[in-house]
């Protein structure tokens, strides 16, 4: 089956030349991935990350932006390997979301 990432030659519209400055959250997942892949850790290879991105399926692949796909894949591989658990992740996401909401409450 042709993966959602395998785009060479497919019909597409004109190239959108607009660019955005990379945000902190984008550089952070980039940095996390670099550390997890380094010689000291070897917890994820570039091909494991790509495999995770390809496995998102076409709908998610097309909908998510570049570093959202990276985030989904690196997190997924860390779950597979037991480096983190789904329970830890769910609790931590909720905790950060609360912390983030609090930023708007005391203004």
């Amino acid at each position: 089956m042709r993966g959602p990432h395998d785009l060479g030659g497919l019909p597409a519209g004109s190239v959108d030349l607009s660019e955005h400055e990379h945000g902190f959250w984008e550089k952070r997942i980039d940095g996390i991935r670099l550390l997890l892949a380094d010689k000291q850790r070897r917890l994820i290879s570039v091909d494991e990350m790509r495999r995770g991105i390809e496995a998102l399926g076409k709908e998610a692949y097309d909908k998510l932006n570049y570093y959202e796909r990276w985030t989904a894949s690196v997190t997924g591989v860390m779950l597979e390997k037991g480096v983190i658990t789904a329970d830890e992740l769910g609790r931590k996401i909720a905790e950060i979301e609360e912390r983030d909401k609090a930023r708007f409450e005391d203004d």
């Binding site: 060479g8 980039d30 850790r41 860390m78 609090a102």
Partner: protein, 214 residues
């Protein structure tokens, strides 16, 4: 310095690098996930906050200026150019640019051949030389079309090549990374290496544009 004297207002000085960067909007789901992943990895000692800060600084420190210096040196030093085309990885290492995981192939534009770089499968890019890739390089339209209608795509970048120029597209599918060595523009004979660096844009090293001549 009085950062300890006021404690009202919201938390702008969160002590580790997991703070959201867009203060005006709540974090989206994937930002939350990435933030949670970072904090968990730090709490578990898989990575440290200092390592993460350094990694982010490393990502930030790469820019197209690195590639431009390589190009300008190749334009002014024929022996360096020969080494660069023979073994790109070793030649950029001479300038202090380390390519630890991948090999660099430098492809030279001539009056007969024009090179263009793409990665149709993901977004492989010579990050050590050019920094993070631009949005269009990662997007569907460029990746789909530049292998099939390169001239039409280059026109969208404002680049028109003579019909008899042969276009060589390089699809970075594996362990090589590519850098285009553009042709040195006419009329730049008197310019110094430092002045030439200014003419070399990121996009001309990807092959979608040509270098400026002044």
């Amino acid at each position: 310095m009085s950062e300890h004297t006021h404690d009202h207002g919201h938390d702008h000085d969160h002590p580790h690098p997991n703070q959201p960067d867009i203060d005006s909007e709540p974090m989206g789901y994937y930002q939350l996930m990435g933030s949670a992943l970072g904090e968990l990895l730090i709490e578990k000692g898989v990575i440290t906050a200092d390592e993460l800060r350094a990694a982010i600084e490393n990502v930030d420190s790469r820019s197209p200026e690195g590639g431009a210096k390589v190009v300008a040196k190749a334009w002014t030093d024929p022996e360096y150019k020969a080494r660069l085309l023979e073994n790109g990885t070793a030649a950029v290492d001479e300038l202090g640019i380390d390519m630890p995981a991948t090999h660099l192939v430098v492809v030279e534009n001539t009056d007969k051949v024009h090179n263009v770089i793409v990665c149709t499968l993901c977004s492989c890019y010579p990050r050590m030389l050019l920094g993070l890739p631009p949005d269009w390089y990662k997007a569907h339209a460029y990746r789909s079309r530049v292998v099939r209608e390169p001239r039409a795509v280059l026109k969208e970048f404002g680049t028109e090549l003579a019909d008899d120029v042969e276009i060589r597209v390089h699809d970075s599918t594996a362990d090589m990374r590519y850098l285009v060595l553009p042709r040195r523009p006419d009329g730049t004979e008197g310019m110094s290496e430092e002045e030439l660096v200014e003419l070399v844009s990121r996009d001309c090293m990807i092959g979608v544009t040509l270098p400026r001549s002044s």
